[in-house]
Symmetry: C2
Subunit: 129 residues, 2 copies
Amino acid sequence: MAKRKNAPGERISEAEHAVMEVLWDKNPISAAEVCDQVCAQRDWSIPTVKTLLSRLVQKEVVGTEPDGRKFLYRPLIARADYVGGESRRLVERLFGGRAAPLFAQLAESEALTEDDLAEIEALLREMRK
Amino acid sequence: MAKRKNAPGERISEAEHAVMEVLWDKNPISAAEVCDQVCAQRDWSIPTVKTLLSRLVQKEVVGTEPDGRKFLYRPLIARADYVGGESRRLVERLFGGRAAPLFAQLAESEALTEDDLAEIEALLREMRK
DNA sequence: ATTCTTCGATTACGTCTGTAGCCGAAACGA
DNA sequence: TCGTTTCGGCTACAGACGTAATCGAAGAAT
């Protein structure tokens, strides 16, 4: 009954997510390389990135492989899985599990561009077959 | 430096959100009444609910009005605003601000029911005019 | 008036999160 | 071989969060 854990399931925090994005973009890479990417956007220092990386390793969502004296990191979960999980969680929590109200909400708050609409229409048409 | 917050914006936590849901459903109500609702679902005790309420008051998202010797609480922000904000935040963080990929994601992870599809189609048709 | 009951307010405390410093071992340069 | 640089690993610490007990004042009951 609890929502606890599927295979990969340890919760990923906001800051950790930023690190994951970098890893999804390119991997495997070293801590320093991760910092190159992420320290540009969020104003972090190397130690911070290393802490986040080790927490992610602990949570078993990031794996390591030795590369000479250093380590290379790579994600152990697919971005699509993470993103899907977060999306479903939001729909669950805020819209009683129904996606339509989310859509309505986005529409109302003008978060939908003309392009979005067209794209969604296309997707719908495709799913209809 | 610490994290920023603007007028409406103090972050509402998961547990606090549960309390907000109760207040949105019925208000103004007393702490005890909030507990009646929320302690049924989450297994909390009165002190917990009161703590959450006072934190929400501090964050200025819940207001109080004296009712004899006790207080009645009511939300100061609309549910639609909160929900809209959270939705936009998710779309921003996970989909680069584009809603279409969210939709695709939900579709792929089978989070869309037949009803959802129909409803969304209807909404789309309506927006098309 | 004295006690019993209610509340809100204050305090507590372990965990998680954001952010970072320090240390020791390994690799490198001389 | 010896110091210097480079890493990963452990340690730290403040603020947020989840959860709750305790205190003190205002009312109610007798």
